[in-house]
């Protein structure tokens, strides 16, 4: 399998604080990787690093063999990395449908003059966008809600919508930031199926940050464990589960 994302020895330093240090991770096509660690370990920082919100103080990040360090987030998304957010960030003034349509903008060819003239090429692209958005919403059972205000949806639907929206950017790598947060066990089961389904249907690699161990252990092929900004373990769910360093990081030193 081809290597998709390569993070090499990255450090993110804010003033005196090292949020992440010496982090390595390789993600190949179609892999489902989990990133876990206690609160404040730096998991979302890693996401922000990959998506270009933060710039690494040192180290390298390569996506599809090209460095993405220093690129603005929208360019990194165009390269094929999409994400969801820990605190859902939908566009409140747009409908469900338009939230997804907006995410199709980056693939558009037409310019302002087309938007103003409304010629055939504009109409064609608008149809395509509508079709893409509708199909995605259909797959994820949100079509019937398409005209609703996006933030008016029930919590679980909002999370699903965020994933749909990210998929509209046609990513090769999808980053999910705590998608199971606030869900009950049934919803989590559903989510796990959804993630596996998404991954297979769209041929994606997925990097998942999650606190719920059942979800992570249940679907991830490989898991990296982060504590205080450094990777303390990496391996299959079984390996990681049994690793004493991981147990200590989560439960604390029992002798203390």
């Amino acid at each position: 399998m081809k290597t998709l994302l390569q993070i090499e020895n990255c450090t993110v330093q804010f003033g005196g604080l090292k949020a992440v240090s010496g982090f390595d991770l390789t993600i190949r096509e179609n892999e489902l990787i989990g990133l876990i660690g206690p609160n404040g370990a730096g998991k979302t920082t890693i996401f922000n690093l990959i998506t270009g919100v933060y710039r690494p103080t040192s180290g390298e990040i390569r996506f599809r063999d090209r460095s993405v360090v220093g690129h603005p987030p929208y360019k990194i998304t165009a390269r094929g990395i999409a994400r969801t957010f820990q605190n859902i960030r939908l566009f409140p003034s747009l409908t469900v449908f338009d939230n997804v349509r907006a995410a199709c903008n980056l693939h558009l060819r037409h310019g302002i003059s087309h938007a103003l003239w409304r010629g055939p090429s504009f109409d064609r692209e608008e149809r395509e966008v509508e079709k893409t958005a509708s199909e995605l919403l259909e797959i994820f059972h949100l079509q019937h809600l398409r005209e609703a205000p996006s933030t008016g949806l029930p919590y679980g639907d909002q999370r699903r919508l965020e994933i749909v929206r990210a998929l509209a950017t046609r990513p090769k790598l999808l980053l999910l930031d705590e998608p199971a947060a606030g869900m009950n066990p049934t919803e989590k089961e559903e989510l796990m199926r959804l993630i596996r389904f998404t991954q297979e249907k769209f041929g994606l690699a997925v990097l998942l940050v999650e606190h719920d161990m059942r979800v992570v252990m249940g679907i991830c092929q490989r898991i990296a464990v982060l504590d205080h900004g450094t990777k303390i373990a990496e391996g299959t769910p079984e390996t990681v589960r049994a690793d004493p360093k991981v147990i200590e990081a989560y439960l604390g030193d029992t002798d203390a």
């Binding site: 994400r83 957010f85 747009l94 608008e126 929206r165």
Partner: protein
């Protein structure tokens, strides 16, 4: 409404403007002044609404773009007027062509300045952006004030009143057309994402700076056209007329109309143009006590009070319903 596409509406508006303009000589000069001013304020308000209402960017320097358009178009008319018109064989055709060329040049000049100001400034957010745009607006004014060849602080005079009802409302119709079309397209959705959540927008592949600059430049272009129309109507322009207060006036139109509510902004433009005139008549009511007349005469006191009260009680504007949510028509 569904039967008529936007292009049809534009044509209807242009036709209506033409028909009405045939009667413009019959209209009383005082009312005519107000009518033209309404048209100009519509262009200013609808343009700024694109930036502030849809794309969510504060701009307190819009009068600066109007000034650029006013002075460029005025300069062309005054300095190039004779040669140009003669080259076109004189007569009304030459005059009209020159006028239109001056207007468009003013708009393009303003658009260019909008680009120059926008690209560095639009990286800033909220209050900071407001202050920087204010700063640029003032700098433009100060530069004009110190440029002798166009009159400096004494102002600049134009020879003829070439702005007519038709040109004013044609421009207004085109402006509304452009804004409505942009808003109801992929660009419109883009603007909304920028206004809602820039970080999420960037994460969805939207180049937020590009969208902000587009809104900014389009608005600046139309402000420039408005400036040109104004210059060729009043036949006299001076830098103080394009100061911070003028920028505030335009912002108030946008807020009163409801941010992101183009019809509301048009209505607000009409209302805010008529209001000072109304106040002026109130000030002359013999029935009111002296001090009340005085206060009414100082329309700025009422204006600012109205503004404060409006913000406290109905910040979504006069014409928008309470909901934060704006429905987008396909």
């Amino acid at each position: 409404m569904k039967h008529f596409g936007p292009k049809t509406w534009l044509l209807i508006a242009i036709l209506a403007s033409f028909v009405i303009s045939l009667f413009e000589d019959r209209i009383n000069a005082y009312f005519f002044d107000i009518i033209i001013t309404i048209g100009i304020n519509i262009i200013l308000g609808v343009g700024l609404n694109l930036v502030t209402g849809y794309a969510g960017q504060f701009s307190l320097g819009h009068a600066g773009f109007m000034a650029v358009g006013a002075y460029i178009s005025a300069a062309i008319t005054v300095f190039l007027g004779e040669g140009f018109a003669a080259a076109l064989g004189g007569g009304s055709f030459g005059g009209t062509t020159l006028y239109l060329a001056a207007l468009v040049a003013g708009g393009l000049g303003a658009g260019l300045v909008g680009l120059l100001v926008g690209v560095p400034s639009l990286r800033l957010k909220g209050d900071y952006l407001a202050i920087v745009t204010l700063g640029f607006g003032e700098i433009i004014r100060v530069v004009i004030q110190n440029t002798e060849v166009i009159g400096g602080p004494r102002g600049f005079s134009l020879p003829d009143r070439t702005t007519t009802f038709f040109w004013t409302y044609l421009s207004a119709a085109v402006c509304v057309y452009v804004v409505v079309l942009l808003v109801n397209s992929t660009y419109g959705r883009g603007f909304c994402t920028v206004a809602d959540d820039e970080i999420a927008a960037e994460a969805m592949g939207i180049n937020t700076t590009k969208y902000k600059v587009i809104a900014f430049v389009v608005a600046a272009f139309f402000a420039g056209i408005a400036g040109g129309l104004y210059a060729h109507f009043k036949m006299y322009i001076h830098p103080e007329g394009f100061n911070f207060l003028k920028s505030v006036d335009i912002v108030v139109i946008v807020i009163l109309g409801g941010m992101g509510n183009t019809p509301g902004v048009i209505a607000a433009a009409v209302l805010l143009t008529i209001l000072p005139e109304g106040l002026r008549s109130v000030a002359r009511w013999e029935a009111l006590p002296e001090w009340l007349q005085q206060v009414a005469a100082n329309r700025m006191i009422l204006y600012s009070l109205l503004l404060i009260i409006l913000m406290l009680s109905r910040p979504q504007g006069l014409f928008t319903r309470r909901s934060r949510f704006r429905k987008k028509k396909p």
